[in-house]
Symmetry: C2
């Protein structure tokens, strides 16, 4: 049997978020495997109410954990490392990453009381990690977090370049610039068989802009602001935090950081040497003593998260600090689609306080961390891979990216989660479809997306819940009246009578005329009651609720 | 007592949607009233799961319906006329509007079996409607629906201009252009005391563009498309439908309209003479026989609505029509903030079919129906009102608009829903705060936003629902074991045992040791059981669920 090289995305290919990509090399079905990234994505009320985190379903890989040589993490964003603490126990392979990423990964492991000696810290290429048939190098790329890396993955079948998330930034303020020469060298020391490439910004038509272009406008804004300035951005964007803090300092303002993530990221950046000259930050209890025109807060919650510092400040006093008329609140960020309502809620609450809210002003105060279409094309041209597999994108992003590659004569195909691709040829060839999906962290429990738990929650939210209780005595006869409780339903409907009374009357009628066969069977009784209550509610309030029927049978003692 | 002129927004001032503005003239507390617009806004899962429509709470006005002279509707968009059928019965005043608006308003009344002879159709200014102390004229404005109108409201205290929704379009394709001369005349025949002004687009810095600029790009796109073309936009945007249909015709395509709203709007536009030369549309059963390169569908659902034609087509065959590889789907629309997830879901589903999805391309295929900041400033300058009251906007829009007006020396203030303003002076003066809020259409029932119904649904969705049943016998002793049912919760938790079993065991323990005082009181028993189950669930699954306790007491017969 000949060896083959396979690629199998388990997350990230068909969505932006929860990245998890498997590579394998060896005889079919016996490939030695590596996993690149273990990310999460975030729940929403529309589809996942009550869920805490969404992760890829890695059960395919868990069932083959004995073949898993290693896990590589490209960078410390939640959609690349966030699932580590939750899913590592089902894989138990060594984890490789660079220093800053390891600092964040370590916290994830510690939170779950997992061993941290499974973490292996590596320097950038030329350092090489051997993992079974794979030889892997970390290639520094610019992104919106320090020490992001592409991976050069060498296999006996050929060289793969896995870009991770990246942009072409020659002046990224913190961390390493994108270095075209190094990429050129990679492609020329060994031809690139396949490039797995970030697709997030494929629809953005103009070239990306450097982090450094924000410096002047931010300094201007902060210097001109009359009162206190509050700026929010992703805590992991260390370069942005630095630009903001230095702009504050330049305008004579003390800096105060709010939000746990903010402090965690700054600490990790300082400890790992990524950040060397961040202005001194004052704690909130000291900040309250400083005149507002001499103060700038840098806070979490740019996506409108309800518990983060931005939302807290929009609701009033937080840690002794309070915004008021004449203050300025800057969103140095872009709202991720789906988060608009939360962000707008904060903006309006701040507006009610008389605070001037400033958004990114079409890019004046924010740049993206991803390569735009012309940047991606430049990288295609630089690397000339035999195959280009778009990754990290919704279906529409992957499809567009594949089209762009094919228009240049590069073999490409849309490969979504669960499609196993054999790369050992001239074009990507799907050889198997693997069952994939999503795992939810729900409170303290991991549940499957298809377990029905969340479906039931959505149904209760959309339809309300009726609970009917019936007691059946030792002789299989209804004992007393049935009881109805409702939750999430109007008190009265068309008739003007109490909904509970209307439903209890229906039940009383039913129990009077019910036959012994029905009453003798829990299943039949449940079904009949459910049907009657749903219909009766529909007549009364125009809605068929969820119904739970509780049948208590008294036993002869 | 001197007469005063008051303004009281009950909806629309503090949100985009559900417009409802009251004006009054007369002695304080005895003013004769008119209402301008009766709009709705739309529910979302985050805040209003299961709700069908959101409307302003008009109970203040309903309690004073004897003082209400008339209702005026500025135009036929849902956020201006959508609540008519639901809330008119509590007001029962004559409704005044122009012809096209009346055609849509009539449908709203008919749907609810309400009299339609309360509708009064008027021509544009100089025709004047007398309503108590008010003399009202409809002034044609350009907007994204035919026959939109501003209102000139003359009172003994002065002239008010209520802009309604508008843009400055000299070539609106269908309907009347914005006519600066007419506005100039209005301001010069009698000075404008107060202008209540649309604020939706106050943050858009460039001048608005005409509907007519879309013609060439749309023709090009549709002519160049290889397969079938599907275009979605708001059904009420008759001008857009016309541009799209004519572009289709010009490229040799038959037009087929899908979606009830689409047909309703076209019918109303043709019947009222607003639309005279719309290309012949073929029904779906005929469309399926036409070659796809000769077909264009114009469909509802541009905001991602799950039941509209766009969503249906993204899920597969709909009315015999099916999209496939090489077809083009155009969103000739902008996604309203909050609707992104639904729209993106459709885009990705279409991408999976191989359909090329085209969005508005930054304005190439869509223009807004609202005046942008420079346009609003132009109208301020044209009308020079003594006061400018920003309306139709979230708080941040109203605040920005007031700032713009004040920077020109016009008296202005942010007036939100429930603030009653006395206009009989040199500046707006808040004289009273009226209780306002939202009314939900929930199935067949109107409920208040604060009734707790929706709060309970949200709690069940976020926390799951546990139902405990206990039977207490004639001697106040627990009879048998307690029963637990759960909905929306994981089956097993930390212990690996069934959650239901764990909770039932807890209940059994509790019932063994419960004292007679607790068991004798429904309230005490309920509280104890609730506390125990919530704590026990927290330990087991890391979440405190909603708990319903059902206590059945057997009575001695």
């Amino acid at each position: 049997m000949t060896d083959r090289l396979i690629y199998l995305p388990l997350g990230g290919a068909g969505e932006i978020g929860m990245n998890a990509y498997v590579y394998g090399y060896g005889p079919a079905g016996k490939e030695r495997l590596i996993l690149v990234d273990m990310g999460v994505t975030f729940p929403d009320m529309d589809t996942t109410p009550g869920v805490d985190l969404i992760m890829p379903d890695l059960s395919w890989l868990a069932a083959r954990a004995d073949r898993l040589e290693a896990i590589f993490i490209t960078h410390a964003h939640e959609d690349h490392v966030g699932a580590l603490g939750h899913l590592w126990p089902m894989l138990k392979a060594p984890v490789h990453c660079r220093r800053f990423t390891a600092a964040i990964a370590r916290l994830k492991l510690e939170e779950r009381n997992l061993p941290t000696d499974i973490l292996h810290v590596h320097a950038a290429r030329p350092e090489t990690v051997e993992a079974g048939p794979f030889r892997v190098q970390f290639v520094p790329v610019s992104h919106s977090i320090p020490e992001s890396s592409a991976l050069v993955i060498d296999t006996p079948a050929g060289r793969i370049v896995h870009t991770g998330d990246f942009k072409l930034d020659g002046t990224p303020v913190v961390g390493e610039a994108f270095d075209p020469q190094q990429w050129y060298d990679i492609a020329h020391e060994r031809p690139v068989m396949a490039m797995m490439c970030d697709s997030t910004n494929i629809f953005t038509p103009h070239p990306g802009r450097s982090e450094a272009v924000l410096d002047a406008p931010l300094r201007q804004l902060i210097a001109d602001a009359p009162g206190m300035v509050v700026a929010t951005t992703f805590a992991s964007n260390i370069a942005r935090l630095k630009t903001l803090a230095e702009a504050a300092e330049a305008s004579g303002r003390s800096v105060c950081l709010l939000g746990r993530a903010m402090k965690k990221m700054i600490t990790a950046a300082v400890e790992t040497g990524v950040l060397t000259d961040f202005p001194h930050a004052v704690p909130p209890e000291q900040a309250v003593e400083i005149g507002r025109e001499n103060l700038m807060l840098i806070v979490t919650g740019s996506q409108g998260e309800r518990r983060a510092a931005s939302a807290q400040l929009s609701r009033g006093k937080y840690l002794g600090l309070e915004l008021k008329e004449g203050d300025t609140f800057l969103f140095s960020s872009r709202t991720i689609p789906g988060n608009e309502r939360g962000v707008i809620r904060i903006m309006n609450a701040l507006s009610e306080m008389g605070v001037d809210v400033v958004d990114d002003r079409g890019g004046l105060y924010h740049v993206s961390g991803h390569a735009n279409r012309p940047d991606l094309e430049a990288v295609h041209d630089l690397m000339r891979p035999a195959m280009l597999i778009p990754m990290h994108g919704e279906h529409r992003h992957l499809r567009e990216h594949a089209k762009v590659a094919m228009s240049k004569g590069i073999a490409s195909e849309v490969i979504v989660n669960g499609s196993m691709v054999d790369l050992t040829g001239t074009a990507p060839r799907i050889v198997e479809y693997v069952e994939t999906g999503r795992t939810y962290l729900d409170g303290a429990v991991l549940i499957g997306a298809m377990d029905g738990v969340v479906r039931d929650r959505l149904r209760m939210a959309l339809n309300g819940h009726v609970i009917a209780t019936v007691i059946i005595d030792e002789d299989d006869l209804p004992l007393g009246d049935a009881w109805i409780e409702v939750m999430g339903l109007p008190e009265t409907g068309r008739s003007g009578r109490s909904l509970i009374e209307v439903l209890e009357d229906e039940m009383a009628d039913f129990l009077e005329r019910v036959d012994r066969k029905t009453v003798g069977s829990d299943e039949k009784l449940d079904e009949s009651i459910r049907r009657i209550l749903r219909q009766s509610a529909l007549d009364e309030i125009g809605r068929k609720p969820e119904v739970t029927v509780i049948i208590s049978r008294l036993m002869a003692e």
